[in-house]
Every structure is written in structure tokens, then in C-alpha cells.
């Protein structure tokens, strides 16, 4: 067998191998020049002018369809994102991250996306992790791939954040009956069928908890993939605090009672 022959990744319908790779080696996104046109990456954007261009550049190297949903940013985020986004959608008024994700998802589904990915705009996520997650969904190994920062030793999760996130994990283990290790990770990949079935109605940050509930009830196959979360000064300032955690809990519980 010619080792230089282009290698077809089994069941990986969204990738188009362009250069040859050694078939003896496992598929590694770093070594293969791939550009996925069937996975639509939804990036909810809110006041991230400082980092959004870098985030989108990284995504566009690997994904042909990057949908940026600006959620009423008050800074220059839209101007910074416009040259690098495939599609730019704008909420006229701020409706929250959950609403932005659902807007991007609805748009991508209407345009025929085979898979939908969620990717945060603050630069915490790694595109290579997203590629690995997409590959699992594209291969049919699962319907939903969720990022798990606690399985990655490189993710230096601050102690306070770790406690907050682990509390959320425990909460969902009891309330939703689903055993996951990281329930508030913004890096997710859904098959088309999964994205159609899981509609986010929690507009603000409680959408992550709502999604876990919906996933638990859906019977869809879920897999957690180790991902690296970058904790730098910028992301630490932007990240959720305990007060935010309590607000999310309040909105989540109210939503469960009233909706």
C-alpha cells in the first residue's frame, strides 16, 4: 500500500482530505489539512472585541461555516468579527448567550448543516479539541460530544471555579439523573438530529443546565471529550463567579417550575 496515498477517514463525511498523510499514523487534525464544510460552528458574541478576531481566524482555518451571533455588543466586537465570520447575525437587543446559541443553531439548520458546534468567543477553547469532537460525531460514535475540562490535565482550573463547576455537576447528577464530569462547558458538538431535538429556551446562562436536562431526557448518545480550557487573566475576569452561579441556579429552577 502506498503510504503517500491520501487517506480516507472512515465515515467522516464532512472532511475533505487535501494532502497525503501516513496511513500508519492515527488521524491527527494537526497533520492533516482539513476544512470541514458540514459542521457549522456557532459563536455567541458579546463584548469580545479584544479576542474575537483571533478566535475566528483559528476556526476559519478548519471550518468553512462559522456563524457569529452578536448579542447586542456595546464595543467594537461586530467590526472585529465581520471580516473573519462566514455569517454574521445580530441580535438587535441583548438576549443572552442561550438565545444567541439557539439563533445560530436555527440559522445553521435552515442552511442544511450536518453538525452544529458551539464555541465560545472569549478564546478559552482550542480548535483542535473541537475537531476531535466533530470527528466523534461525524463517525457516528455519538450524537452529542461535550467538552470535559476535568479530563485534561493541562486545564489549570482555578480552585474556586473548580468548586463551582463540580457543585453544578453534583446538582445535575441528582436533579437531571445524568452522570457527566463537566456540565457547563461551552464546547459542544451536535449531530443534526440532536440539534433539531434540543431547542434551547433558557435565554441566558441557564441554557447550559437546560441543555443537560434536555440531553438526559432525549436518550441521545453522549460522549465527553477531554478538552483544554485556557484560563488567562482575560478569561478569568470574564468567567462566572459564585453570584453568577446562584443567578443561573435561580433561573434554572424557576424555568423548571414555570415552563
Amino acid at each position: 500500500m502506498d503510504p503517500n496515498r491520501p487517506r480516507r477517514l472512515s465515515g467522516n463525511r464532512g472532511y475533505r482530505p487535501i494532502v497525503a498523510v501516513n496511513p500508519q499514523q492515527p488521524p491527527c487534525p494537526r497533520e492533516t489539512e482539513l476544512r470541514d464544510s458540514e459542521t457549522w460552528v456557532v459563536v455567541p458574541l458579546y463584548n469580545e472585541a479584544a479576542v474575537i478576531a483571533r478566535v475566528l481566524k483559528g476556526l476559519r482555518r478548519r471550518f468553512a461555516n462559522v456563524v457569529v451571533v452578536d448579542d447586542g455588543s456595546a464595543d467594537d466586537s461586530v467590526e472585529a468579527a465581520r471580516p473573519h465570520a462566514t455569517w454574521l447575525l445580530r441580535h438587535l437587543v441583548n438576549r443572552g448567550q442561550g438565545a444567541a446559541l439557539q439563533t445560530g443553531t436555527a440559522f445553521a439548520l435552515a442552511r442544511g448543516a450536518r453538525r452544529i458546534a458551539h464555541f465560545d468567543a472569549d478564546g478559552q477553547h482550542d480548535v483542535r479539541d473541537l475537531e476531535r469532537m466533530v470527528e466523534r460525531v461525524a463517525d457516528g460514535a455519538c450524537d452529542i460530544a461535550l467538552g470535559n475540562r476535568f479530563a485534561d490535565r493541562g486545564s489549570n482550573v482555578p480552585a474556586g471555579r473548580r468548586l463551582l463547576l463540580k457543585s453544578a455537576v453534583l446538582f445535575h447528577r441528582v436533579c437531571s439523573g445524568i452522570e457527566l464530569s463537566d456540565v457547563h462547558n461551552g464546547l459542544r458538538v451536535f449531530s443534526r438530529e440532536a440539534a433539531e431535538r434540543l431547542e434551547i429556551t433558557a435565554d441566558r446562562m441557564a441554557h447550559a443546565s437546560e441543555l443537560i436536562d434536555l440531553i438526559a431526557r432525549s436518550g441521545l448518545r453522549v460522549e465527553e471529550i477531554p478538552v483544554h480550557i485556557r484560563y488567562d487573566e482575560y478569561s478569568r475576569e470574564k468567567g462566572q463567579r459564585w453570584t453568577g452561579g446562584f443567578r443561573i441556579l435561580f433561573h434554572y429552577l424557576v424555568g423548571r417550575i414555570l415552563d
Binding site: 464544510s37 458540514e38 481566524k57 482555518r61 468553512a64 451571533v69 441580535h91 439563533t103 440559522f107
Partner: protein, 128 residues
């Protein structure tokens, strides 16, 4: 009756009349309308004969009729807050649907992908 009792009774009567008109006009459901009218009638009676309220309060284990009215008022206020909150959530959700609709209608294509310098730069997004 004292002048204040007249004011209270007149107010309750007017409210009961408004609720009745709302039911007749179809702006308020029959059950809800009946509840409102009953509440206003009870309020009017309590204004006319406050001693009866004390009797009812004593029967419920509350010392004063005024305390019973206070407790009922607190309950009514909380119930009102809940109704307003539920309605506010519904309006917010409708606003989100509207904002989403406009965002999708006015979706704009981004730049020409400056990160690419090879042949795939010319690739357009897949429209299915």
C-alpha cells in the same frame, strides 16, 4: 356608615362592575371574573361590617380581623408578583423569538476569510 366606609364600598362596587363588564366583553375568563367579583364583594362586606372579619379571624385562630386582612393582602401581593413574573417571562420569550427572526432575516455574509491564502480561499460556504 362612616365616610371612609362609603369610599371603600363604592370602590369595591366599581371594581366588581368593571370585572363583570370585562367578563361580558370577553376580556376576562368566567372563572377568573367570578373569583374577582367574589373577592370585591367580600371586601365590600368586610368594610361594612368589620366585626364579622374579626369573627372569621377568631375562627381561623387569628386574634384580630385586621391581622387576617394583612395576611390575605400579603398573599395577594405575592400572587400578583408571580403572575406578573410569569407574564414577563412570556413577553421576554416572545421578544427573543422576534429578535431571532430579525437576526436570521438580516444575516450578512462575513469577509473573504483572510486566514486562507491557498486555493480554498475561493470556497464559498455550502448552501444546502
Amino acid at each position: 356608615m362612616t365616610p371612609f366606609q362609603w369610599i371603600l364600598v363604592s370602590s369595591f362596587a366599581a371594581l366588581a362592575a368593571l370585572a363583570t363588564v370585562a367578563v361580558v366583553a370577553g376580556r376576562l375568563g368566567r372563572v377568573a371574573g367570578l373569583c374577582w367579583v367574589a373577592a370585591f364583594v367580600v371586601g365590600g362586606l368586610a368594610a361594612i361590617e368589620p366585626d364579622r372579619v374579626t369573627t372569621v379571624a377568631n375562627a381561623l385562630g387569628i386574634h384580630r380581623g385586621a391581622d387576617l386582612l394583612l395576611y390575605l393582602l400579603v398573599l395577594a401581593v405575592f400572587w400578583g408578583f408571580l403572575l406578573v413574573y410569569v407574564r414577563l417571562r412570556r413577553v421576554r420569550r416572545e421578544l427573543t423569538v422576534l429578535v431571532r427572526h430579525v437576526a436570521i432575516l438580516e444575516a450578512e455574509q462575513g469577509g473573504s476569510d483572510p486566514t486562507r491564502t491557498d486555493a480554498s480561499t475561493a470556497e464559498s460556504p455550502s448552501h444546502h
